[in-house]
Symmetry: C2
Subunit: 383 residues, 2 copies
């Protein structure tokens, strides 16, 4: 089966269902993209898949999409490619497996940029926030982004006005690498005032990414769906400013669900644009960060970083930091153990133990039982 055939099938599938499409994703995992595409075209699919695909299954413009995309400097990155960011996106698969709604992995990703996507995302942090940002927020976003990129961290954001744009610009000012994840087609030129910014992002070893086929118009629901990719592709998300009902809070919530580190920047209690951040902090859903070094410490501390790609055989515990490894090694294989007891045995601070255990659970290394926590036995990984 040629590479082109698979890519054409994925391009078709990406257009046939509005993301996230969990039933279609499972169907593709079961039958492979080429056979899945054939069955979708023919309408030979289970009801759940039909619900996701019946409205658009006759729209077969995959060849044109690939041609036009190529002409516009875009390429379709598919899971079969070496550059597919499989490791960070695994968090979506794990969360979907746990029954979380709305977190199906993408079937493929449109991308502009020269560097392989997995390299660009080797270690990434999201910096997001409100469009109607204050000067304080934009300055903070730009400074955090500048310093993070100087620490060899890719900064991921959503290319919106306000905080997102300030974050991308901060990276470019530092000569660093940034990734913009869009909620529309790469060719749509949205937001209009950021077309030049996005061009500079791709010229500076960064990337502009979207799971939406060419021509897909921006829409509020697509920004929310896009937010799961921002959360998944990064080790942690920093919310710089957010109103009470901000999309940035949605990204933060998703990041939390995916087991990623959620961080928020405080501000004056008199600022409406800090209300969302203060809410996340007050409810214990985010860790306070007041500098880029706080961000790096927090992301490193919890050890959920996106591990750099490696050709060496992967041990289960690769990617765990020292504390996480000590916590893991303290887990009993039978019965259960309380976080307090684990903290004592591992010599790791209790609050840290409590942060690490859910991460180990998400990584499939630990599980809870009535008596506490224990090691989860190694299992063959399902498709």
């Amino acid at each position: 089966m040629s590479d082109d055939t698979v890519r054409l099938a994925r391009a078709y599938l990406l257009r046939v269902a509005e993301p996230p499409a969990p039933a279609l994703w499972g169907f593709v995992a079961e039958h492979g993209p080429v056979e899945a595409a054939r069955r979708v075209r023919a309408g030979e699919v289970p009801d759940r898949v039909a619900t996701e695909t019946s409205a658009r299954r006759h729209v077969d413009v995959a060849e044109r999409d690939l041609e036009e995309g190529g002409a516009q400097g875009a390429r379709l990155v598919i899971p079969e490619d070496d550059e597919w960011p499989a490791w960070p996106l695994l968090s979506l698969e794990v969360a979907m497996g746990r029954g979380v709604d709305g977190v199906a992995p993408p079937l493929a990703l449109w991308m502009r940029g020269e560097v392989p996507l997995d390299d660009v995302l080797a270690f990434a942090v999201a910096v997001v926030g409100a469009r109607a940002a204050t000067d304080y927020g934009e300055t903070t976003a730009a400074e955090f982004a500048y310093e993070l990129s100087q620490a060899d961290t890719t900064v991921v954001s959503g290319a919106a006005y306000g905080i997102d744009g300030a974050a991308h610009r901060g990276v470019l000012a530092a000569g660093g690498v940034t990734v913009a994840v869009l909620g529309c087609g790469l060719d749509v030129g949205y937001p209009a005032g950021h077309v030049g910014l996005l061009n500079r992002v791709t010229q500076r070893r960064g990337a502009v990414v979207s799971e939406y086929p060419p021509g897909t118009q921006p829409a509020r629901h697509r920004f929310l769906v896009r937010n799961r990719l921002i959360a998944a592709l990064t080790a942690g998300t920093v919310v710089v400013e957010a109103g009470r009902r901000s999309g940035a809070r949605n990204t933060a919530t998703t990041a939390g669900v995916l087991g990623k580190v959620v961080m928020a920047v405080p501000g004056p209690i008199t600022s409406a644009m800090s209300v969302g951040c203060h809410h996340l902090l007050r409810e214990g859903q985010a860790t306070l960060v007041s500098s880029a070094s706080d961000v790096l410490e927090t992301v490193g501390r919890f050890g959920t970083g996106v591990a750099p790609p490696s050709t060496a055989p992967r041990r289960r515990t690769d990617g765990l930091d020292a504390d996480a490894l000590r916590v893991f090694e303290t887990l009993p294989s039978r019965g259960g153990r309380s976080p307090e007891s684990i903290a004592t045995e591992a010599g790791v601070d209790l609050s840290r133990v409590r942060a690490i255990l859910p991460v180990l659970e998400l990584e499939g290394l630990a599980e809870q039982c009535d008596a506490g926590w224990r090691e989860r036995r190694r299992q063959a990984r399902g498709g």
Copy 2:
């Protein structure tokens, strides 16, 4: 034994040892104040008590202290008085019993004010912070204090310049009740610029309180020792602004040790006066509050409020809020249970369960074992 004899003995003891004096406190609990005073005067005390008392045991000016204090409108409130705030101060006794240093209860309290001290402190919150406060901090302190006092909450602070003064003034502007706890004698007139303010506090049904005898000069170590009283006498402490090494952070830490609610107000990350607050929040040592209603919700939520005095028989679980009661009722009497399991059974959010369990432990209602948490059996309370 006459009331005067006991009061004279306590006045003597208060002057004879620099607070906190845990050995002397225990000695008084064992022998009663009159006999303890006699033995201290005679030097017939164990070594630990001698260490605390030998330097001043010949200073016997109790009669003069009581006379002069009375002439200046002050009175000595002693544990034998009905108005002694026994319930809030119990937190110091409990913490001392757990081996915490520096938290011995006061042997008596000097006070200015018309209303019985326990009434003034029936429900109180501390609002504290840096002397070198910003306009933002002073405005916030005054507004929080104003609104708290409108919600029938006594605001306790330390009468210092900056945040403390703003808190006291905010209460007075609302016609509310405020308590100033000093780190020097009531007659010393410190800080000089707040003498008028402290007079207004006592004229408005509030109180000025100190465990230091008349004439005791202010000193840095006395402010730190005083901070434990601010923490103990209140249901929770709000840090409005604090530099990296602020005394307000010391009060917050002490409040945490005493099982009280610790709260911090965020501010701009560019403000040196918010660094201490942000540190408390980042380390999970404080809950973020951005309004007086946040404060009331937080203090009520964790159920550690200073219960109003009551003549009815006290059940062990009196003073617990609904969530704390549900957590308590989920505790097994044997074995142990993980916080996760408790959260599931009680239907209370896990983060709340984790906040409540240490409070129940402090109240003598719960204890930890290797398998998790269980109910602590009722015990006769030691003296």
